[in-house]
């Protein structure tokens, strides 16, 4: 189990987590209490809820790919009232802060939903601004710095708990979006949601997802997301929570070194529902092995040799 010598605690703004490992939204629910002690997690993050009831996308909703999977669940939701009445009570007494993920169609609906979710039992809200903005032709809020800024500002005006902005990786310049979210008052960033992908069965010629396109997650995307964590962490002062492709403690360390303060684990839990506990134990073991007293020291401590490219280019002068 966790070595008491190593301090695994991290701070996400005003929120203290006993360790940096939490689930990714949509990849966790109270049913996992059947497979692990939820109280050992750094935080709990629930599936995105929408203000209104939604049915979700046609099946098949998942398909496997090389070192990853596609999903197009489509955020089925029973609405906010159901969430507060029926979902939240499952977590009463679990000694880990609960983060409610929210999706909405407009900045105003986002704000109203976050206001409604600023209730006891909710320690922070994760605004899934990777979802379509119907005022921008269905383009995700987080695909535009302007829409990001508007949504987060509106939310911050109404919410009474810290707001984490969950970005989409389907952008050209994630640092620009990160700065817009920070400027609008986001308390932390979650980097990132899934990469938009598609797979076709060559035998049937049919798309593997009922919804044709869906989000790619799992180890396949980790290099892309680690790069974005690195870029965002250098662009903002608020904490970055890394999310993408983490199966093991080593993968979590990679995110931390790139600049993440904490990490979210999604797809890995589908392969083993208790995967997060293994990652927490593995992080403690890693810190011990490497003489790291506080895991927070790892954040952003990738060892980049700043002179390398210069030395290399100097060689170019000498070489014919």
């Amino acid at each position: 189990m966790v070595d008491p010598q190593v301090d695994l605690g991290v701070k996400i703004g005003s929120l203290m987590l006993k360790n940096p490992v939490m689930p990714a939204s949509g990849c966790f629910a109270h049913e996992y209490a059947q497979a692990m002690d939820l109280g050992r997690l750094g935080a709990l993050v629930t599936k995105s809820v929408t203000p209104k009831r939604r049915i979700g996308n046609p099946v098949p909703r998942v398909a496997e790919t090389d070192a990853g999977m596609l999903n197009s669940i489509g955020i089925p939701s029973s609405g906010l009232l159901y969430y507060v009445d029926k979902i939240l009570p499952h977590y009463v007494g679990v000694p880990a802060p609960l983060v409610a993920s929210v999706s909405a169609d407009t900045a105003e609906e986002f704000a109203a939903a976050c206001e409604a979710l600023s209730v006891p039992g909710v320690s922070a809200i994760e605004a899934n601004i990777s979802c379509p903005n119907i005022e921008a032709d269905g383009r995700a809020f987080a695909m535009s710095p302007k829409d990001t800024h508007r949504a987060i500002s509106e939310i911050k005006r109404h919410a009474r708990v810290p707001i984490w902005a969950k970005l989409t990786p389907n952008v050209a310049d994630i640092a620009e979006i990160a700065r817009a979210a920070e400027d609008a008052g986001a308390d932390a960033l979650v980097v990132a949601n899934t990469l938009l992908g598609m797979a076709i069965d060559p035998e049937t010629r049919k798309p593997k997802l009922g919804n044709v396109m869906g989000g790619l997650s799992g180890p396949a995307i980790r290099p892309v997301i680690v790069r974005m964590v690195f870029q965002c962490a250098r662009a903002v002062r608020i904490p970055v929570i890394g999310c993408g492709g983490i199966l093991s403690a080593g993968h979590a360390v990679e995110h931390l070194l790139a600049g993440a303060t904490a990490v979210q684990v999604g797809t890995a839990s589908f392969l083993d529902p208790a995967a997060m506990l293994g990652i927490i134990d593995g992080l403690a073991a890693y810190c011990e092995r490497h003489g790291v007293a506080r895991i927070a020291e790892l954040t952003g401590s990738v060892r980049i040799d700043p002179g390398l490219t210069d030395r290399w280019l100097r060689l170019a002068q000498q070489s014919g």
């Binding site: 049913e31 059947q34 046609p58 998942v62 089925p76 392969l271």
Partner: protein, 266 residues
């Protein structure tokens, strides 16, 4: 914890027909005690250069015990994952997660049950056979297959007494028009306390049409297999309304009558 991920060992692994393979595992936990007929496990099919199944594969328990660390599977070698699984040799490791899902309802007080299976559906229903046999509940089985060589009656009954009706595609006896009177007669004459089915949408629809009272085990594409990801939904009629239910945790066993017609969406 009710659900665990366990590193098991292959104890036996052999072909039972051209396309079906039998697998017996030894698990580092007394799984047999906690596993019920109709429940399933997620199998981590081995990864190789040729095939790299990423998601786990859901497989019903085909047999439970008698040793408390033993569970058995019977599976159709079909795609990437099962082709990889098939290569395991006795002594090899296999990681499984489970037991998962809600199994069949069964009461030792019943007099007779009717089992209607096709293809690999018999693997899912097989654990009902020893339950019934041990309780002295009579078994009638209607087994449907492409041809006599694929029926696997032995594998299904494993020595238990039953009244078996075999129907085949090869001689036309499995056609709906011919199975309908057979089932109608059995329901009328034997008045089974419960009907169970698995493996065929046509047989399910037929049993619904005949107003049979019982349960069906369903399948759906899964990721988490624990009710978390919402990928495995199917449509049901409940109290006059259409609702989605998660096959992995609210099922895979559902009341026969509740399954909505349009099951083959997508």
């Amino acid at each position: 914890m009710k659900v665990a991920t366990l590193a098991c060992r292959v104890v036996e692994h052999q072909w039972v027909s051209a396309r079906y393979k039998y697998l017996r595992l030894s698990c580092p936990a007394p799984l047999a005690r906690h596993t019920a007929a109709g429940q399933f496990f997620q199998l981590a099919c081995p990864v190789s250069e040729a095939q790299a199944p990423f998601l786990r594969r859901p497989m019903s328990v085909y047999g439970i015990g008698p040793e408390e660390d033993r569970i058995e599977f019977l599976y159709h070698v079909k795609g990437i994952g099962t082709r990889a699984l098939e290569r395991l040799r006795a002594g090899d490791a296999l990681t499984v997660t489970g037991p998962l899902g809600t199994g069949f309802a069964f009461s030792p007080d019943w007099k007779r049950v009717l089992l209607v299976a096709r293809g690999v559906g018999l693997a899912t229903m097989a654990p009902l056979v020893p339950l019934a046999a041990r309780a002295g509940v009579a078994i009638t089985a209607v087994l449907s297959a492409r041809a006599p060589g694929e029926l696997m009656t032995q594998e299904f009954l494993r020595g238990a007494p039953a009244s078996v009706h075999a129907v085949f595609d090869s001689d036309g006896s499995s056609a709906v028009e011919r199975v309908e009177p057979l089932l109608r007669n059995l329901l009328d004459a034997e008045r089974p306390d419960r009907v169970y089915t698995c493996g065929s949408n046509r047989l399910l629809a037929l049993l619904q049409k005949l107003g049979a009272h019982g349960e069906v085990a369903l399948e759906q594409q899964m990721a988490c297999a624990m009710g978390v990801c919402l990928s495995c939904v199917r449509l049901f009629n409940e109290e006059g309304e259409k609702v989605f239910r998660r096959v992995c945790c609210e099922g895979p066993v559902f009341p026969l009558g509740a399954v909505a017609g349009e099951v083959q969406f997508g």
